[in-house]
Symmetry: C3
């Protein structure tokens, strides 16, 4: 049997990151829902929105059908199972540590979804800025939906920590790498790594966005 090529390894790596990121997004939904004392149905719905909301809006805006979660039905089952597992396990654990541990796969997912949403949009013929915005939507809209349903102002828009901005930067790297003639795979990786690294750096060094003086 031949050894897997570099490309195959990368694809497998990407699939692995995608699963880890989706789980991280789903867990962020579970934590938020449990905080708000939703019932089990609410927990599943919010987890689902957090995990699939961004990609669904991307597909809806790009008019892509079937939705990615229709093509890959096991992902929907995966979130259901994850919620049931969390229902059993999380009773005895604290929410805050879970949330903190989830920041790292979440950062990976942010990068991957931003890069991959940008590429979908470019392939659909969008101009660079719009494609990057589509990447940001793919990466961030799940969390926005999660917070809206939980009756909170979305954390991404409020907490002064770079999140959407990291996705934005990663999207531009994808565009730039594409213009510079790199292959789509390389552009994807470069964008994803940029966005994830920026997010991780922001968390480690506690970067804050400047405030806006509302009392002006």
């Amino acid at each position: 049997m031949a050894a897997p090529t570099v490309l195959q390894t990368l694809t497998a790596l990407q699939a692995g990151i995608e699963v880890a990121a989706m789980a991280a997004f789903a867990v962020s939904g579970i934590v938020a829902a449990v905080r708000k004392r939703l019932d089990p149905v609410g927990v599943v719905v919010v987890a689902w929105l957090a995990a699939f909301g961004g990609g669904t809006l991307r597909d809806l805006l790009l008019d892509r059908r079937p939705f990615f979660w229709v093509e890959q039905g096991w992902q929907v089952w995966g979130v259901l199972l994850l919620c049931m597992a969390a229902l059993g396990v999380m009773r005895a654990r604290h929410l805050r540590p879970t949330e903190r541990a989830m920041q790292w796969p979440d950062a990976l997912g942010l990068g991957l979804f931003a890069a991959n949403g940008t590429q979908f949009a470019v392939a659909a013929g969008m101009a660079p800025l719009n494609a990057v915005v589509m990447g940001v939507i793919t990466a961030c809209f799940g969390g926005v939906l999660r917070d809206i349903v939980c009756n909170e102002i979305p954390a991404t828009l409020r907490d002064h920590r770079p999140y959407a901005l990291c996705a934005f930067a990663g999207g531009w790297v994808v565009i730039g790498a594409g213009h510079a003639g790199f292959a789509a795979d390389i552009a994807l990786i470069a964008g994803a790594v940029t966005a994830s690294a920026l997010r991780a750096a922001g968390l480690v060094f506690d970067w804050r966005l400047p405030g806006w003086r509302a009392d002006g």
Copy 2:
């Protein structure tokens, strides 16, 4: 003139249930909007969202055009008239009894829309789980939108009473009946009756979903 066939009777019955259910959904929106002291425009909008939001999202996700309420324009007029009637009548009545009386047509609507949303999705080629989820969305999303616009956490996700779960069960009955070779009509009725009966039983026997320990 020939007597109507069984099929015609069923179709007429379904149309009647649909109208009753839509009115119940619209009234739930009117009650919620009046509670929040919205103005008349707000009342009409929230009633409209409660009645048509679920089916609209279903059509949007399945990429069906025209929307069902574009095809059947009288439904939109119906909600407008209902709001005006309620504006006149409800001044002198209590909101809570209205809400309680509406639970029964609402349960009928839950079943009908869950079954019929599932069938639309199956016809559009979706896998069973996704089709059932589409049925749940059709049945529940109107109420979710209503609550989000009224700045509340959606009741379906929070009140520990089986609602979406009944729709979910009804959807699986539709799928199961279809696989067992029953005609689409029979599958629809079986699914709708299952979901409505479960919802009604839940109301009568005061079923509660287990809580999630947030203090863990």
Copy 3:
């Protein structure tokens, strides 16, 4: 060089009003976001939703692609620049006067978007009532999204001042003018002027919608 025709003048006028209206909508988003102390990303997102949300939902419901802001990419840049300018300028100014000054371009935008959303929907084959509703959505949904993301009940649904109703009236004028055989341009102008004038009159004369007795 020939003098511009009346039609060219009108088109230029319309484009000018559109830009002014979009800026007014975006500024309403900036003001709302600053009030809620969102971070800069939140300000940009809420401004964008306020400016483009209505037209995007219209395009989504009518299944029009590409979106109007994909076709006219400079508008997206314009909102970004406007937010940055506001970030610099608004620090030293009061929010309330900004909001009040914005009511007039906002009223222009209300009329223009209501008329133009109605015409798009008629062109897509919708029945009159649905087309008018589509115009109302185009004009009002941006503000609704802005308020939902800021965790408020949408002002349009709550403040007892005619806003959506003015768009509704303007939409019917477009329909009526079309049925009376006027050219699309004239119908558009008649509808836009009606809606804007009604909104302006409502602001000047402090019109209020009747309340609904919630204690009934």
